[in-house]
Symmetry: C2
Subunit: 401 residues, 2 copies
Amino acid sequence: MSLWIPARRSARLNPSIIREILKLTEQPGVLSMAGGLPSAETFPVEVIREACNRVLSDTPREALQYAASEGFGPLRDWVAQHLAAQGLTLRADRVLITTGSQQGLDLVGKVMVDAGAPVAVEAPTYLGALQAFNPYEPIYASLAGDADGPLPDALRALPHDAPGTRFAYLVPNFQNPTGRLIPDARRAALVAAAQATRLPLVEDNPYGDLWFDAAPPAPLAARWPEGVLYLGSFSKVLAPGLRLGYLVAPPELYPKLLQAKQAADLHTPGFNQRVVYEVIKKGFLDQHVPTIRARYQRQCDAMAEALTRHMPADTTWQRPRGGMFFWLRLPAGCDALALLPQALAAGIAYVPGSAFYAQAADTRTLRLSFVTLSPDDIAEAVSLLGRVLREHLDAQREPAP
Amino acid sequence: MSLWIPARRSARLNPSIIREILKLTEQPGVLSMAGGLPSAETFPVEVIREACNRVLSDTPREALQYAASEGFGPLRDWVAQHLAAQGLTLRADRVLITTGSQQGLDLVGKVMVDAGAPVAVEAPTYLGALQAFNPYEPIYASLAGDADGPLPDALRALPHDAPGTRFAYLVPNFQNPTGRLIPDARRAALVAAAQATRLPLVEDNPYGDLWFDAAPPAPLAARWPEGVLYLGSFSKVLAPGLRLGYLVAPPELYPKLLQAKQAADLHTPGFNQRVVYEVIKKGFLDQHVPTIRARYQRQCDAMAEALTRHMPADTTWQRPRGGMFFWLRLPAGCDALALLPQALAAGIAYVPGSAFYAQAADTRTLRLSFVTLSPDDIAEAVSLLGRVLREHLDAQREPAP
């Protein structure tokens, strides 16, 4: 008998396929469109340095001491004001600062998910959310959707007998992996369906600030404050290595999330919270985020052009209006996971779409990030992807020897 | 019916009594011996500032980007070498960097504890460990002990039929709350008993570097590497606000802990890991930690002297040989929780011992921290505590009117 007896839930903890793929793509010379990382060129290093120095001059003991589990008060106030500008009016005492928004997902799982409880997710959905929820052993219900997002009827069809589906997890803005934005009318219809069936929603919004031509519609949480738990992040607008996110919880749920947060890591590093507050308190993001948008839009344009030029017939995609990702569906006979070794051999990398499905995967899908390569490298990488796909399709058409 | 249905485990998430008490003690003018915080006077602010600047000059993009869930390689190497100097030889690939050692406790609970599984703890034990394990719904077994720590027979008496007790959680060095050090012979006997019954141990060591006259005996993990999971922290030797800890796991357990870590917050802030590594890489702690020891020893001496002078007869305590805490047992007829309002009215604060018991509490116990007040204030605070206790005892002796 083994000495250490793992908990049953640990069977639901597994290596991330993305992580394994990213290791492969770290080989020199690979043009990788696989990573979900923001561009390091956007990190405001000097501004962060000044903020570090100011925090260590003004409040060194407070910044380096244990701190409140709720988070740094002025940062919580900032979050409340920032969200109010997007139509989500709330008191700062509903804001909980988290160690990245990934921790928010873990806390949601811990507080809301019993083993065997249904949780609804998009198909495909953010892999990190599945990883966060998995150890709490939910049963996933995959929501049918179209180009505008999940279908309201799919919410209505969920089990809603007591205790029913615990929540539906949605990423309305420039979703990872599909890049899809849920339009205003669909948001209204989804919230109406959720209200009618008393289905709580968990709204994850790491990418909402990265829009190109128009800001996204108001968040779901603005339409139904008591029924939507909202997650936000500084990873895509400042720097992910600071691990700073937040959640906004309905009052009835906040105390348990706070206690779960305290049990998980006592509090998010106070130094990081104060540094980020120092960076943003006078409106820095108002100048900074537009530079990220402009950069990503150029890269998105380059990828859109290259895809149009190089993809074989019957490959489909939707041009994103923000965020970091294109989502492709390959022609029949193409399995994105099976083709990955050929892609790597050709010097490029992507993430096969199957990683992002809670249940039955569409094996013809793949995710391309447009934010880590230059426009020239994007053109080159997409051209190589096109060659790999055409060679595969040609080989399929040849008669067997 | 409520809209949000909490998971069953959330019933085990509750407000921390210590947290509530600490709020009361924040009133101006209270001489608080309640906090478990290290002295902010020990934080090496200028060294941390230099490290921040160096990291942001040398590797800004790496420090601010997403990073590996295992932690920053050179920091993991440092931990391995640091522990080797204490007799715990290990490869750096067994080290997992955590967001404070509190996160290590949460990961242990997540990976090891099923609902209803027995977990053994000392009586009293670290409250934060109970908070971390509670949401995983263990059944606690409280270990009988004496002044040298838990009794080996108490380990032998635990349920060890398959799957049996998942682990025993021990804080061998200057335990929170008792300040107790487990001597070498007792460590050997405990490990022998654990090996004989194949009982895994979780060894938590946040205070081991804070010794006064002699370093503690070798850790339990050095005596049984495959059977002991070890937790360490930078909170007490550098600064807790950076939230940096680590765990050392047996190889069979490491992958699941790593996956749980990834699900919990992707990785500990890379910036903080690099800053701490920059601070410590050339031996800074070798000069710095002795200054903390000397400071805390003076405060400990002051409290020992004041206790001897001011405590009523039949109050007992053991003088700690390191760490941050005295543990008192009051005379019969004194309930530390019931007396707290009188103590606060007199201008002092402590933590009633009952908070630290998983099961039946000894209500005559309380914890005093000696590291936040100056020696003079300690003398004053302990004198006031003595007065509160004597007044209470005198009132008890008076005949009812």
